[in-house]
């Protein structure tokens, strides 16, 4: 039963990008089309599950002081593997994701789960946690991607669904539309789940133990001077 909970918490309750507000860069950047969201989401899920397995197996071997560089190298290895695979078998997705595929390496969801979960738990819960978080992330990407694609180009997964006489609002597939749609989605989630308003920032970032005190110092620094 508790295994089930590890899996489902990532889908809605602790959804990495809608509730925890992590991994904003890919959520905004590649969601101009729903199909990109699926590609990016599943690639991230794969990397997340693999890195969770390896980190949870190596948690006693990796020295505490160099754990972040070690995690980053493990993640970068899997990212390289995924991008080579996509390049070989799904070249369309590879070219539409472009640079953002390599940037999965520095996605804070993956480092966050490594730091918060995989380094403290056994292998099987870590796999389920990675799978749940990854699918939750995919869900958000597809949701934001669908909204932007439908309003911005009148299509969904490349199939025209809006009637001819409705002119698509190109604004939605421009960067400004990305910020706007994600803002609306997070507001809707806050409203439905009756969450307390959260600010994007370091005070609720799960990685804040990873960069010791740097965030708070950076946020408060302006006030002290």
């Amino acid at each position: 039963m508790s295994y089930m909970k590890e899996f489902t918490k990532g889908l809605i309750k602790e959804n990495p990008s809608m509730v925890m507000l992590l991994g904003m860069c890919p959520t905004l950047a590649i969601t101009t089309m729903a199909s990109n969201g699926v590609g990016m989401g599943l690639s991230t899920t794969f990397v997340l599950v693999c890195s969770n397995i390896v980190i949870s197996l190596l948690k006693k071997i990796i020295p505490d002081t160099v754990r972040l560089p070690a995690y980053i190298v493990i993640v970068a290895g899997f990212v390289t593997f995924v991008s080579l695979m996509l390049q070989a078998f799904l070249p369309d997705i590879y070219s539409s994701l472009g640079m953002y595929l390599s940037l999965i390496t520095v996605n804070c969801i993956i480092l966050g789960r490594a730091e918060m979960f995989a380094s403290k738990n056994k292998v099987i819960p870590s796999i389920l946690d990675g799978l749940g978080m990854g699918l939750g992330f995919t869900l958000t990407l597809v949701l934001v991607g669908s909204l932007r694609e439908i309003f911005g180009s009148g299509q969904w997964f490349g199939i025209t669904i809006m009637p001819e006489f409705l002119e698509p609002m190109t604004l939605f597939i421009l960067p400004a539309g990305g910020f706007f749609v994600l803002g609306v989605v997070i507001a809707a989630v806050n409203r439905i789940m009756k969450k307390k308003p959260r600010e994007i920032g370091c005070h609720n970032c799960p990685n804040k133990d990873g960069c010791p005190g740097a965030c708070e110092k950076a946020e408060n620094n302006g006030g002290e001077q």
Partner: protein
Amino acid sequence: MEIARNLMIILLTGILTENFVLSKFLGICPFLGVSKKLDSSIGMGAAVTFVMVCASLVTYPIYYGILVPLHIEYMNTIAFILVIAVFVQLVEMVLKKYMPPLYKSLGVYLPLITTNCAVLGVTLLNLTKEYDLLESVINSFGAGLGFMIAMVIFAGVRSRLERCDIPKALRGAPITLMAASIVSLAFIGFGGVVDGIFGG
């Protein structure tokens, strides 16, 4: 003359039309997280610019001097992120030891930069655009400057937001994202400016 013109185009493109934060969505976390106060956004912007320029200086010889001759170009992500992580640590130590005043104003932001996707992003972008060393440095400088300008503008917008009465559901992250959307909309206006100046 032709070279100088080319470099100016790269610089202005990085700052205005292809702004890293507002059109490429790189470095969103620090953009939204550290832009509450004007001072800290300037500090963060300067630190990011510095690390970006140095990272492109360091990664260029590594890619063309080591990875290409050995035919392991696909290792670029791993190599670059390691180099950036090590380099940031090094800069932090050097600043702490030899330049304490500078460390006090920039040093606090350095650990945040290792996992900042903008830094890795700019080094990868230099590769995909096949820039030479000078062009890479100029491109990184422009990207960093663009990042700083976006952060400073956004810090100003946010200081206004704090005094507004915002509907309950929109408080926190949603209204921040919507404000970012409007700032990004303003940057769309720069489209074509670079071509206009240089008659491209």
